[in-house]
Symmetry: C2
Subunit: 410 residues, 2 copies
């Protein structure tokens, strides 16, 4: 894409009320726009990142048999009365009414739709296990929306739900999701900083698990076990007597972290009120067990920004970067156009800065936006034999021949 | 995909309160599930169709320079007060409050966000024209939700907005969108039945245009001009003195139709209240002009179903079908598996009916679901030299060799 055609521009300053680093950088670089506290528009660059993240998640969830669906945001009150969450989550949920005064919830999560949906289609053990997921907006009345896109009042979530006849089967699937999540966070570039973390299992399970990524922007405190790269959420550290539930190691080191995903065994918490059963092999009606598994897309994007940045801007991992190459022409538009055309033909995503502004402004914008490879073509680079190439996280550029660019990038 | 793994099943009957043909067929075949009047879940088959439609639209809108973004659904009251639509659209909009009693609209359209967003980035004629679009849920308090997915209370819309310095430039872009829309409806298989229709331009333009597809399910009446394949919405037929505005032909033939898209010149209707100006070449501040252009995705999907069906079920056009091939094994699972693997390897989308049910049930399901090519492998077909192949809209099947399948389909 040509940068002269991109309708967004970089900004020197973020809005004054925006205190979080992730939102400051993302707004200044033109990835998101703030509409209201906790409510953001994804601009062209930001949507490209979200789509990259979405595709990584989709591939990994499809690989464990998840079937993609798309559930509504407007849920009738009745469904939420069945689980008693119409009242218990009242303070957290946006509610509305239609023209006949029928009440609706703006969904903060989708158990109240997926559980009765599953009931319609599951009759017997032959239909099990099954899992379905979606990428869909969630709405949450967050009282405190000061963490930029880490804690939105409206945000896209990947929510996966699984259905099982036995606890063993639920446990098996839970482990599969855990492995898929680790692959997702690895592909998103934050594996090293992300700890599978023991957290409260509620009244139904001993533990649930969160995936906590270390960053000062995090709102959670976790106790880290370096021995097995796991952690324990501070909320339950007393319950585990300050020991790692995995290896028994004493835990004392704490870190701030942000929860980029969670997996949860709901067991029969929701299938009981909705009476979702299936026949087992002996034709007995068995109450189904469920698991639910979430990843917030904007939160993952914001976490990546919190982890990968420097004083000049964002440093995107290649897998989620809006473009792979930032091509900068310093008054060499003819050759730059040729390089651009060739890269596009090779299937490489390029943002081509063809604007008529100073070199300094172009470099500052490039660092702020944070595309992995920067290629500069200038009179000087041509005299030196080609173009300057530099990775965003490198200090020094080097000269390569124009005909070697595609090879160098791939 | 193997049909035994698809969690949805076909149903003999649709819910009794579901009176529209499109929703009856789509529910029975397992494409959608009804949560509440006008509110539907897209099931795996239905989401596949919506994604096909979305991709067609995305390609065509990208080809005319549209930049994809994603705006929020929760809009602050203030934005809607600026355009006075907080009051004027009050009856049509879902509203809600956050924990500090701040009021929000659940967006039925997005002018109130895109217009101030554009204002932040557009300074001069050099930034123009530009257009941005999204695929995002819309929420509308439809009083009457009896037309299945043709008139949802919650639905995905492609909404495109364009910004211009001059009326000439707006007119040029409007024509480009018109051509893109015609390509979209052609690719979606409904070109023949779809008429570009003159409709009211409101107080700001002489006309707007709707794209009306002929079907008995339609809620609009249009007057057709066969001479130039255009039409006039009944609402303005008196204003045009029963004559085609294009060629002057007298119009008398009426048809029922559904509006699958519209294009509209808002001119300065929204830029005026938001004071969106840009400098022209003489450094004068000029009030910008805008156009807006919508296509409802579920409505387009439902229209296709209304147009293409018979007494046995849906007949999807290839371009939007959930799969290209429905492979049916009648107790020949070993060879069927091999055919399935080869088709998948060739990049052909196949639903493989590997279930242990009767041939009659498989054929009935196949006709109901409506995938373009049906391939049946049975003892009989093998004796006859291969597999039976039949298009969904053909009566007779014929035998082809197994090794010719991919060639035949492509």
């Amino acid at each position: 894409m040509k940068q002269s055609q991109l309708f967004t521009k970089t900004q020197k300053n973020a809005p004054k009320d925006e205190v979080s680093l992730n939102a400051q950088l993302l707004i200044r670089a033109g990835f998101v726009d703030k509409l209201s506290a906790g409510i953001y528009t994804l601009l062209p660059l930001g949507l490209r990142v979200i789509k990259k993240i979405e595709n990584i998640i989709r591939e990994e969830i499809n690989s464990i048999g998840g079937q993609e669906i798309f559930m509504p945001s407007l849920h009738p009150k009745e469904n939420w009365e069945i689980t008693n969450r119409w009242k218990s989550l009242d303070e957290d949920m946006y509610k509305t009414k239609d023209s006949s005064d029928k009440e609706f919830v703006l969904a903060p999560t989708h158990e109240e739709v997926i559980i009765p949906l599953a009931k319609k289609f599951i009759n017997s053990y032959k239909d099990l296990p099954f899992s379905a997921y979606q990428f869909q907006n969630k709405f949450r009345k967050e009282k405190r929306a000061k963490s930029g896109i880490l804690r939105g009042r409206e945000f896209i979530m990947k929510d996966l739900y699984s259905f099982h006849l036995t606890e063993e089967d639920l446990n098996d699937y839970y482990e599969k999701v855990d492995k898929a999540y680790l692959r997702i966070f690895e592909r998103a570039g934050i594996k090293e900083k992300t700890y599978k973390t023991f957290a409260s299992g509620g009244t139904f399970s001993k533990y649930s698990h969160e995936y906590q990524t270390l960053t000062q922007a995090g709102e959670d405190i976790i106790y880290i076990c370096e021995k097995c790269h796991t952690a324990v959420n501070k909320e339950i550290i007393a319950d585990v007597e300050n020991k790692c539930p995995e290896c028994g190691e004493k835990l004392s080191k704490t870190e701030k972290a942000v929860e980029v995903g969670n997996i949860f065994k709901n067991k029969d918490k929701y299938t009981l009120p909705f009476k979702v059963t299936a026949k087992n092999e002996n034709s007995e009606d068995i109450l189904l067990l469920t698991g639910c598994y979430g990843i917030g897309l904007q939160r993952l994007m914001g976490t990546i920004v919190e982890v990968f940045n420097d004083e000049r801007g964002i440093i995107w991992p290649e897998t989620v970067a809006p473009f792979k190459v930032h091509l900068i022409s310093l008054s060499q538009n003819e050759q730059a156009q040729e390089i651009y055309d060739n890269l596009v033909k090779s299937g490489i995503e390029v943002l081509y800065d063809d604007r008529e502004i100073s070199a300094g402004e172009k470099f500052a914008d490039s660092d702020l936006i944070g595309i992995p490879y920067r290629i500069v073509i200038s009179k000087k680079s041509l005299e030196n034999g080609g173009v300057e190439i530099k990775k965003r996280n490198e200090k020094e550029s080097r000269i390569i021949k124009i005909e070697d660019i595609a090879k160098e990038i791939k």
